[in-house]
């Protein structure tokens, strides 16, 4: 009989459940986004309440989609952290209850490690080329920006991270000062396609190692808008596309510069991207160019596995299962939790 893992994710705004069998994805369900779209953004209070409402139906749907019954599950994996404590608790409690009721092992999963391993999610009928170890992973989302050396499925090391804001946060906050809707990333991406990325220049962070910084860029962007608005109060409206293209270029420049530096320093040319910002089209195009020039092999997870999902929790649970890495029932979630 195969190894069938139920994965549960509830670290932020989405409740999700997925089933992985012998390393292949059978089903993946995400609930709760509608609630947030209605209110624009991630609302923590709604988040944990919604998790409680969503978790049972979403697990039920994932099981049905996979044509599995409860007693065919070998182990249940859940997100231990990082995330909002209240939200994490809902997933952790459910997973513990499920493990206890079915008398199966419990597996705790690091959400960030799971984002990296999302690059290994595949379906049976797919022939997917997977990254080979060691590879470099650039993990970029609303809350995280990290460069990780991945030596093995469960052996990862952070070699660079943001010292202030995350890349996704930079997109969101720049969009906010322009009066654009949340989340800012996709809107900036869309408008940037119509603008000139070299129209405006913003200050670049001067950080020598592999760490990132976006807070100086955000401030430089704020001052730039303030000064231009003094001259022309319609400046944002008049130049929306050029502003979006230029700020996007500045953010992507920072990300690519560090990735290139990391690749040169480590000699690693297998490059994987993870996290919601991986969806940015300018980043994708520019990375493909770099890949050609530098003979990199580059990997992106499919979009719905780069944002928060449970398939990545289940695949990580699967590798932990193979390594006999289980959690005891007295484990508690951890809001701050590093790779």
């Amino acid at each position: 009989m195969g190894i069938t893992i139920l994965g549960i994710e509830s670290s932020c705004d989405d409740t999700a459940a997925a089933i992985i069998e012998d390393g292949f994805l059978l089903s993946s369900r995400i609930a709760g986004q509608e609630v947030h779209k209605q209110y624009g953004g991630v609302v923590p209070e709604l988040a944990s309440r919604a998790h409680q409402q969503n978790i049972v139906p979403v697990v039920d749907m994932a099981l049905k989609d996979a044509f599995k019954s409860r007693d065919e599950i070998s182990a249940v994996a859940f997100t231990k952290g990082p995330g909002l404590l209240g939200s994490l608790l809902v997933g952790a409690s459910f997973a513990k209850g499920f493990a206890l009721a079915c008398n199966i092992p419990l597996i705790d999963v690091n959400h960030l490690q799971a984002h990296v391993l999302a690059n290994f999610i595949q379906k049976k009928e797919q022939t997917k080329i997977l990254p080979e170890f060691p590879f470099l992973c650039l993990l970029i989302s609303g809350g995280h920006t990290q460069l990780v050396i991945v030596k093995d499925y469960l052996d990862m090391k952070i070699i660079g991270q943001t010292i202030d804001d995350a890349a996704g946060e930079a997109f969101d906050k720049c969009a906010k000062v322009m009066g654009l809707p949340y989340p800012g990333g996709p809107v900036i991406d869309k408008y940037a396609k119509l603008g000139n990325p070299s129209a405006y220049q913003f200050s670049k962070p001067r950080i020598k190692n592999l760490d990132f910084s976006f807070s100086g860029l955000k401030t430089s962007f704020l001052y730039f808008l303030r000064d231009r608005l003094r001259e022309n109060k319609n400046f944002i409206n008049d130049h929306q596309y050029d502003i979006c293209a230029s700020i996007q270029k500045a953010i992507v420049d920072i990300l690519i510069a560090k990735l290139v530096k990391a690749s040169l320093e480590t000699g690693i040319t297998e490059i994987a991207i993870a996290g919601g910002v991986a969806a940015n089209s300018d980043l994708r195009n520019r990375l493909s160019d770099e890949a050609q020039q530098r003979k990199w092999r580059i990997f992106f997870p499919e979009f719905h596995y780069s944002t928060d999902n449970a398939a990545m929790i289940a695949i990580t649970g699967y590798y932990k299962f193979l390594h006999n890495e289980f959690a005891s029932l007295d484990i508690s979630p951890s809001a701050r939790f590093s790779i």
């Binding site: 309440r49 990082p82 209240g86 809350g143 991270q161 202030d164 995350a166 946060e169 000062v177």
Partner: protein, 140 residues
């Protein structure tokens, strides 16, 4: 009201040290200031002075970051930027953080309204003409 001037980033850590001297005896701070004023940067410098070993970065997404000071005391770095309703603070269990014995630094404290502790020290960060910053400590 007392105030400190940070003429440039080079003086940041010295001023963070003076800030801790000036506010000795209190550990709860509401840090006011516009976006880009340097709230996170200032808190980061103060946490460095307190001997925090962890990476101090923006909690805008995570809402609460927890660090440990050199003497082993907890530091809660809270960002209420995404909070829209006080109900959400109840849900986060805000009392455990606001009324702890730990150091507490709260960005966007406006969003907590009257739920902020009475004895919290209000600090305002403002940018001045030449790019420097003025840190004002508003006495209760």
């Amino acid at each position: 009201m007392r105030s400190l001037t940070i003429p440039s980033l080079n003086e940041l850590s010295a001023v963070a040290g003076q800030f801790l001297q000036l506010t000795r005896g209190t550990r709860k701070f509401a840090i006011h200031g516009k976006m880009g004023a340097g709230k996170t940067t200032f808190i980061k410098a103060v946490c460095d002075e307190l001997g925090a070993k962890e990476v101090v970065n923006s909690p805008s997404f995570s809402i609460i970051n927890e660090y440990q000071s050199g003497s082993g005391m907890s530091i809660y770095h809270i960002d209420l930027y995404r909070i829209r309703d006080k109900e959400e603070l109840f849900d986060l269990g805000y009392e455990d953080y606001f009324y702890s014995n730990a150091y507490v630094f709260i960005e966007w404290p406006e969003n907590a309204g009257e739920l902020l502790p009475q004895d919290i020290i209000r600090v305002n960060i403002e940018e001045v003409e030449n790019g420097g910053r003025i840190i004002s400590i508003i006495d209760n």
